[in-house]
Amino acid sequence: MDFGLSQEQQMLRDAVARCLADTCPLEHVRECSERDNPVSDKVLDALQGLGIPGMMIPEEHGGLGMTLLDAALVAEQLAYAVAPVSFLASHVLAPLALSEAGSEDQKVRWLPKIASGEAHISVAISETVEARDGAGVTCRGGKLDGTALFALDFAGADAFLVADTTGRLHLVPANASGLEKIPLTTIDRTRSVGELRFAQVTAEPLADDSGFTAGRLRDAGRILLAADSLGAGQAMIEKAVDYSGQREQFGRLIGSFQAVKHMCAEMAAHHEPCRSLIWYAAYAYEAMPEDVSLAACQAKSHTGDVHRFVARTSTEVHGGMGFTDLVGLHYWFKRIGFDRQVLGGPESARAEAAVLQGWIKAA
């Protein structure tokens, strides 16, 4: 047994980290986050150089055929740099859905283009977790009606992969007639989300009509959101430690106050086990598919709680400075806030875990 990253995985992680350190300084994040579409072509191009857009796409379709654990490592680095690029839906969930449940024709049509960066598919599966504002999409006679909230990696998508109320996934081109796209603005200006309204929209269903694939996407999405929080939390902890080694009050470094040391130590103590849990969950996605849903719920809910704590505590260590825009700490704070709420907050993920284990019946 070896609970750890392979050498290739470490190299992948380091390569992505270096690439982002070069192309995605905070100043660049600031510029991008002020635009309607935050996606940075510069950073995306650099990631293209590493093959990241195709990382989850099978080799026969032009990708690298990597695993969800690899993707989790990338997600962590993207969040560490608060990189304003599409990734979760466009480069992980959509490729997974098409590879696992797409027809040969769908694969051939989309996967090579996603791998090369020519196409990008947004994913909207929030209503399979919980329906807000009466949202939900129904499919009758091949036509979609209704609303899907929180389509991820929304801006610039060429197509949308949407779950209907039975959990079946449908592929809809962005220019489909009867489809209305409304951008949503969240606290996190480094990622793009939106709402989709369907009025008799012709869609192309994926073959699986059991809801299984949507469940797989939910698992993968939760694991990657947790990994994103992990990277953002890592940055926040490092920043708090750095700051407390520089800032002086009462004639001493604030890091020499036990109160401040304990805040940092507590963050680290809560944070580090999350990394292990996320690795386990991501590994389980391919290696132990029967275990992954529970692990995903745990990773999502636990990381969500831990990193809410990390986000506020790191801000507190920075004093008033943490609350300003000057050090930009809030970019990570908000990224963590986003990760916590999307695809079910901790309460919702824990309720699902209870159902999965038969503790209670599904509501």
Binding site: I187, L253, E316, K334, Q341, G345, A351
Partner: protein, 416 residues
Amino acid sequence: MDLDYGPEYDAFRQEMRLFLKLHGHRAPTGQARAARPSAEAVEWQKLLIEHGYTARTIPRDYGGYGSEPDILKSRIIAEEFSRAGIPGGLANQGISMLVPTLLELGTEEQKRQWVEPTLKGEVVWCQGYSEPGAGSDLASLKTSARIESGEFVINGQKIWTSTAKQADMIFCLVRTEHDAPKHGGISYLIFSMDTPGIEVRPLKTMTGHAEFNETFFSEVRVPVGQIVGERGQGWFVANATLGHERGMLGDPDALENRFQALVRLMKEERIGMGRAIDNSVLRDRLGALQAEVAAMKCNGMRILSNSLKGEPGGMAKLIVKLQSCELAHQISALAIDAMGEMGILYSGSARERMRGTWQWNYMFQLGLIIGGGTAQIQKNIIAERGLDMPREPKLPKISGAAKGTADMLRQKQGSA
């Protein structure tokens, strides 16, 4: 223990209810976030002063209502505003901090000049205490004032100056006695924000708005008469107002109002077929917060009774800032959780709830956990003053050579 206020107070309460019924519609509806009160808010403020529902105990000569202090009546007033959901009197830094300070320590002339226009919302103040190098350790502040031909000449920088852009006046701590010990060299000055040599630069915060500013002083000349208290006593003058600020941040009625807003939200917010409040986990957190709000309200009553009897507030008072700010933050946190994915909508997004107020509160209340004395400093105070625990040992003064070595070591560690 006797919770009956007595017939006189019941009558007072009825009177006030009638007032609110008759005049409540004149209250301003806009956001209380604005630094400069609207014309509507100023009119409402004047009406409240006239009837003694704000500035109640401030002497008539200075523009108040001039009634004897009666804490129970003040309490009833706060309760009734909260109950009716109608904004009470203005609460800004001028009214909450400067006015009490002037009344306590100002000269007759200062009181006559500043209290009334401040109460009426005509003069807006900002607080110039913190500096880039002096936050928790406020007494180490460096902004200096030398005396030159009957004027203080001020140089230096303040930071976190809320509302400096809108303010007419500033109450400001400066170092006037350079060789005095650090707490003994500070003076408390009041001056116009239009004085030449003041530059205000807005400071954007995590909420996306510029709630504060940096304020720069370069050869700012202020007549020597514009000092409150004596030279070198500014620290003690300021401490009088810090107490008022912490009181302002811990208002139990504000907590109750936020909590009620949360209950409304959770009844309206729908998850699938049900309401957020039907979810037993969220409801349990709601119930826990309600009990905490109740505890803080009762705690407030106890503090009130102690001060009626002229007794010190003790532990009940020392914990108010720490607990209230945390509680306010937790109320917003639950609101966000109850909204699920909708909880992160912001900046005027489609489907945003209450114009993003809950997210703004969540972030701003984290700011308030830090501002006005951080949570860690509050805990130090609770431990040392409330629990009489041993104080942090004072560090020996670091010699130049030792500091050099320490810096070198630190740099080495930094590069490793």
